[in-house]
Amino acid sequence: MNTDLSALQLVLSADPALIAIVKLSLLVSLTAVLLAALIGVPLGALIALTRFPGREAVIVTLNALMGLPPVVAGLAVFLALSRSGPLGSWGLLFTPQAMVIAQAILVAPIIAALSRQTVEDLWVEYRDELAAMNVAAAARVMTLIWDARFSLVTALLAGFGRAAAEVGAIIIVGGNIDGFTRTMTTAIALETSKGDLPLAIGLGLVLIAIVILINALAWGARRAGERYAG
């Protein structure tokens, strides 16, 4: 009872601190997904369309990396970005940018692996037709990515789901700094540790609601797009 009430109050009151946290969470996760997509989609398409020695090993590795523990990714980014690490001079540790990097590393394999599958399936369908139309190799990749775009949305959503839900990596590289690197998930971790379980649950409900909303929007966009493009 108590829990439901305070969660509801939190949402209804539109507390500025809460809004800032939500905004930062979305900004970090969406930027990470975008970054990961820029790497993952072309990489997946490239692996789908090329044959080279060790290709199977690359695919297996990519699939395995989908399960990369966030803490491990976080620790690797932490060690790299620490002042004593190789990229320490960038001064990025404990910043939102560091969180974007860590999440992009977690999300890129998911997007790459799912993109590879999607593009490869479409490639089987399109191969002869594109050859018959004498389409150049680079244009083929673009065509496949474009025509698979509605299926690729699913890959991006899977990536976003992982980014939005994860706490292990960003709490290490972001430091959970109040008003600066505190996101929904790290705030939930903090409130839990402070024993404020109703607030933690409230934040959790807000997070779930946002994830559902984004999925619904993407779903709607996908349906509309499919009606248009078949």
Partner: protein, 279 residues
């Protein structure tokens, strides 16, 4: 061509994001302070930092970790100031040349927490070492931070004071969870266990349920906080002027008064003692 245009738009969007995002986050005057979960979980920073910012315009970014981890963050040069509570570890940090100078700031005290039913029967004991001996002898479920934090160090000191070598002499009743103070309290609450906590976190903790303070007030349970500037000679990126301003504020009469004024439900959480050179 549609595809190419969309792709170009996407690239442009990314470029804009790459430029805008860091700007959004950029804060010109800021320092990173590695501190302990107890200062954060007790709510002290939420109260103190706005006061400091109002005075100096400096944003303080707090990384809340266990004392040992916080000192390591300083050792790597990832923080400008460390603000922790384990004197022996702090002195080691100084002797390594990692810190410039240690300033005592304030103290609070540790409290021994347990279930209302108190199966060990230690409630009200004045001698904390005796209470620990009873917990050990009766094999009472005990939650240890186990994370090299200040609180963990204090707990180990108290076992030693009770004449117990806890590293060797413990059974399944002794559970080291390797997490922060709040997590340790949550675990104790959920498992009817005893746990040592700093008073600040305890007062601020919302999930008390049937936990309560059983032993407190023994001098050996005092919990001294110290603050140090990370050595700029070792880590050139340390913002020494801004960091020193924060330290100066904490030990200044104004800062000391602000600390004393922080209360929850009328209870004072921290006692300033910057004027006591032995602290």
């Amino acid at each position: 061509m549609i595809a190419r245009r969309t792709f170009a738009a996407l690239l442009a969007f990314c470029a804009i994001t790459a430029v805008v995002v860091p700007r959004t986050f950029a804060q010109d005057k800021s320092i990173v302070v590695a501190s302990t979960t107890s200062t954060q979980d007790s709510g002290l920073f939420e109260y103190l930092l706005p006061l400091f910012k109002k005075k100096t315009g400096i944003t303080v970014k707090v990384i809340a970790q266990g004392t040992g981890q916080a000192l390591d963050t300083g050792r790597r040069g990832d923080a400008d100031v460390v603000f922790v509570h384990a004197k022996a570890q702090e002195e080691k940090f100084l002797s390594e040349g990692q810190g410039v100078k240690r300033f005592p700031v304030m103290y609070n005290d540790f409290v021994l927490i347990g279930p209302n039913s108190d199966p060990a029967g230690i409630k009200g004991m004045k001698d904390v070492a005796k209470a620990f001996k009873v917990l050990h002898d009766k094999k009472q479920s005990f939650i240890s931070r186990g994370d090299r934090s200040g609180t963990h160090s204090a707990e180990l000191r108290l076992w030693k004071a009770a004449g117990i070598d806890i590293a060797k002499d413990h059974g399944p009743w002794y559970k080291a969870i390797g997490q922060g103070m709040g997590a340790a309290l949550n675990t104790a609450q959920a498992s009817n266990s005893y746990v040592l906590s700093d008073r600040g976190t305890w007062i601020h903790f919302k999930n008390k349920s049937d936990l309560q303070i059983l032993v407190a007030g023994d001098r050996r349970m005092f919990n001294q906080y110290g603050v140090m500037l990370v050595n700029p000679a070792k880590h050139p990126n340390v913002k020494k002027e801004l960091g020193q301003q924060f330290i100066d504020y904490l030990v200044s009469p104004k800062g000391q008064k602000d600390i004393a004024n922080y209360t929850i439900n009328g209870q004072q959480l921290f006692y300033p003692d910057a004027s006591d050179p032995s602290a």
